[in-house]
Symmetry: C2
Subunit: 333 residues, 2 copies
Amino acid sequence: MAEAKYDVLGIGNAIFDVLVQADEGFLAAHGMAKGGMALIDEARAESIYRDMGPATEMSGGSAANTIVGIANLGARAAYVGKVRDDQIGRLYTHDIRAAGVAFETKPAADGPATGCSYILVTPDGERTMNTYLGAAQELMPADIDAAQIAASAIVYLEGYLWDPASAKEAFVKASKIAHDAGRQVALTLSDAFCVGRYRGEFLDLMRGGTVDLVFANEAELGSLYETADFDAALKQLRNDTKLGVVTRSEKGCVVASKEGVVAVPAFPVSKIVDTTGAGDLFAAGFLFGLVRGAGHEAAGRLGALAAAEVIQHIGARPQTSLKELAQENGLPV
Amino acid sequence: MAEAKYDVLGIGNAIFDVLVQADEGFLAAHGMAKGGMALIDEARAESIYRDMGPATEMSGGSAANTIVGIANLGARAAYVGKVRDDQIGRLYTHDIRAAGVAFETKPAADGPATGCSYILVTPDGERTMNTYLGAAQELMPADIDAAQIAASAIVYLEGYLWDPASAKEAFVKASKIAHDAGRQVALTLSDAFCVGRYRGEFLDLMRGGTVDLVFANEAELGSLYETADFDAALKQLRNDTKLGVVTRSEKGCVVASKEGVVAVPAFPVSKIVDTTGAGDLFAAGFLFGLVRGAGHEAAGRLGALAAAEVIQHIGARPQTSLKELAQENGLPV
């Protein structure tokens, strides 16, 4: 096996975040399920945006946030995702490259605009996302560069890729190339509603060995196995995947492998401002720990640290050096 | 004089802010004057942006920030400024309208893109701005709606309007309409370098009565009268304008009128994150106090309060309800 050029390559829906503070009444009035990610069409995007307050914008996308976090920690990272060649697509391309990520996916020259997520942040810090996929729907198997995938130690895929019709083919193609090259493939289940849409297919990916490592939060795990019994769900997860990592908000995370289960506490935070990106940055820290050979517990602590940073400010991208933060906290970088 | 429909109408360069954290070395390497606003052309914009780190974007523009703050405090506010009909122009239009501001300036259908400012925020919280005016250069006297100006109790203009060639004609036209309707005209000197470019013209505006109220910070005041002697400069300011308000960062502000000088302390802040918008929001609080008939000292305290809110987070628009903040601090709203 050749030495990897990238530690982690992420594939996901490239989404620009439009973040706004809103109260619970706004969610109720617009029929939004708090804490979830709903797919919206252009008409609903316009209607939500019309009613929304003044916003802050920044690049987002689940796997992209994770990959930016990994680069910020000091690892070699690459991203594959589709924007359009429009103003927002150019902001997006700037931000991910400026974070030190290799990003070479050709932007769409026509079709829908760069995808956007209208993110309502309630006073408790919880985020509720309404995503217009836009150009992210144009991600095709042809966008997967076999040499780049084969040169990445871990390929990280988001469950959200199951939403655009052709992206799942790109997903499966990337997984096969990675495995043929002796690499690892990780999947995040992304969102409980997303799991509800693709439960059977996600289980097939896990049981069939298309993915080796699965990230989920409690709600996603419960949705996957259709149970509220955490221990029962965790047991099933251990049967279905080599390595499963379940995040539990302030209760920390659980890392489950064939060898056993390790619980890692959450990192203390003074005030939760916006949970957007919490799971994404947890995955960043954990994957970074894995590629550094840090062991499951230290990887979990790196994940908890990165998640803690991102929930203390608005937006899903780190605003401080995670590398320095890890060093200050005696974690391996 | 008919009752005003708007308490304050602002006219300014409509600018979208691209904010990034940077160290002093970045400023030095790019020949930037820390704390100032430099005008840049498209080539330099591209060169700075290429070297910049990952950014957060949000609507800005000096007078626009002020007007949003005034609306946030609960007054009736309107804005005149030029964007293009592009993606960023649509974000801009959304944000200012969503803040409760009447904004009806027709966007440019061709020509340069919506203006952007690349704002470098150093670890001490100071901001250094590099502004590509873009579509803001297309603001014309024809964009001034005489009825709307005449229906506004205070017309607020930014010195930055002197940069685009035709905007100053719009400025002078608006001032004449306002005065003919018995309204007040306020000016912010905007930036010490801007004052350096237009010193003589700004003094003419003040001495000739085109403006009634002038906002400046210490650096702008020093630049206007080409002196480092604050008291001497303040004395000249009192001669040259009916009402002068000078902000002095952590030293608070000084309100100078023919009757005398009132000093108002700054509002305590726990941590300065980003000073972008500090002067703009000070003006918002002060003008709001004026339209509510609060007296100079209370107006100064409202200004200090609004400035304190905006420097404790990234970006130049308020992230909390200034009205509630003022109420909690026993200030008149």
